[in-house]
């Protein structure tokens, strides 16, 4: 008699490119991996609003201001879609948010860097959203249905984020000498952290192989990073800016850019909480949560009152 265990059957199902849906049987580690990944992704969207919000009130024109407001609002929406996707796996929203606020949960390290000048808003849209898009386009084909659907929504909204960023860079690069220097300075500071967004190299990335097997991830960190570099270098050339990497060189044979070593020590330091803004970001999130408490309480009180009134009316 042939026995096939649940794990094997699940792997076969995933291998046949079918989507896993909330109530399906799934291996516990698959569920746990997804909850961790989706909630970290959600936290990143939420914390990601902070560096950009820093410039909303100082945007140089109304056109830039409405665009930035809309972008930051989108990121809040992305966080919400993702928390909802995590909930379909049985995670509790308040636990997830609690873990972010207590500092237990991780979010993308990139948001622990400061936004010093207006050009940083351009660089973030162009590079940080650009890198996020590379990852999210891949995740549209992830094996977990609700995650894949959230990604499709998110990707539709992201393309404006990157374009508004590149447009800011373009205006600065076509402006005065000082403006172009601002743009170059922003590129210098955001380039390497953007490359780190794809995570450790394939050799160092311990969980990657299992995630690829389960088709949660469809491309490796190094593959995505290379794709991003190949796409971005010509965009920098168009701006007339220099990528801060003396080793950067097009390999004619492969058609891919070779690039210099990434400072992984910096990556792990920021991840551990020692980045320039880790503390500030967590404080800002906690303050926002606490300051909003009265609104939630008022909404609760109002909901209760409305329900009571309805009860009185139908009783009468």
């Amino acid at each position: 008699m042939e026995t096939i265990n649940f794990e094997d059957r699940f792997q076969e199902y995933v291998d046949s490119e079918q989507k896993v849906e909330p109530k399906h049987w799934m291996p516990e580690p698959y569920r746990k991996t997804l909850i961790r990944q989706i909630s970290q992704h959600a936290h990143s969207e939420v914390v990601g609003m902070l560096p950009e919000a820093n410039w909303i009130s100082r945007a140089p024109s109304l056109r830039r201001k409405v665009a930035l407001l809309a972008k930051v609002q989108d990121e809040a929406g992305h966080g919400l879609y993702l928390y909802s996707a995590a909930e379909t796996l049985g995670a509790d929203r308040s636990d997830l948010v609690g873990d972010l606020l207590s500092g237990k949960a991780k979010y993308s390290s990139i948001f622990n860097y400061p936004t010093r000048s207006w050009a940083d808003i351009g660089a973030i849209g162009w590079l940080v959203d650009g890198a996020a898009i590379a990852n999210q386009v891949m995740l549209c084909r992830t094996s977990y249905g609700p995650y894949a659907r959230a990604m499709v929504r998110i990707c539709k909204e992201e393309s404006f984020h990157q374009r508004q960023g590149y447009e800011i860079m373009l205006s600065l690069c076509r402006g005065t000498k000082e403006q172009k220097e601002m743009a170059q300075d922003a590129l210098n500071r955001w380039w390497w952290p953007s490359l780190m967004m794809f995570g450790p190299t394939d050799k160092e990335s311990t969980n990657s192989a299992q995630s690829m097997n389960w088709k949660i991830k469809r491309k490796s960190n190094d593959e995505l990073r290379q794709e991003f570099i190949d796409k971005t270098v010509p965009q920098a050339e168009f701006l007339g800016l220099t990528i801060p990497d003396e080793h950067l060189e097009l390999d004619e044979k492969t058609g891919h850019y070779q690039f210099g070593p990434i400072d992984w020590e910096e990556f792990y330091q920021v991840l551990k909480g020692n980045g320039p803004c880790n503390k500030e970001r967590l404080e800002a999130r906690n303050k926002a949560h606490d300051d909003g408490r009265w609104v939630r309480e008022a909404a609760n009180a109002f909901a209760k009152k409305t329900l009571e009134r309805k009860g009185e009316n139908s009783a009468a």
């Binding site: 849906e21 109530k23 399906h24 049987w25 809309a70 609002q73 989108d74 929406g77 919400l80 879609y81 909802s84 909930e87 509790d92 929203r93 308040s94 636990d95 948010v97 609690g98 659907r149 959230a150 929504r153 909204e157 408490r293 939630r296 309480e297 909404a299 609760n300 109002f302 909901a303 409305t306 329900l307």
Partner: protein, 96 residues
């Protein structure tokens, strides 16, 4: 966390334009239906995705279990006579 932070879940359905059905787009948390509707507007229709929204408490939905899939849906698989192509009509008859 306090119950202030733990509102119930609502499923959101959006009609993208008149003539089409409402389609499930996701979920959200809200203390009551009215706030759920307002949140749904902000979260799921920021780009004219629809002209009508439904919100339904998740707990009000009864779903079939994946294990019941065969019992529920395979009986339809062998009833080919429910499809027009099952019936043989000569081409000469024209469109029918």
């Amino acid at each position: 966390m306090s119950d202030t932070d733990n509102w119930k879940i609502w499923e959101v359905f959006v009609r993208s334009k008149n003539g089409l059905s409402h389609k499930h787009v996701g979920s959200l948390h809200a203390p009551d239906a009215e706030v759920a509707l307002k949140n749904a507007r902000d979260v799921y229709t920021r780009r004219s995705e629809g002209n009508s929204v439904w919100v339904v408490p998740s707990e009000a939905i009864t779903a079939s279990a994946p294990e019941e899939k065969e019992a529920l849906f395979t009986p339809a698989d062998d009833k080919v006579y429910r499809h027009p192509t099952f019936y043989e009509i000569p081409d000469d008859v024209g469109h029918i």
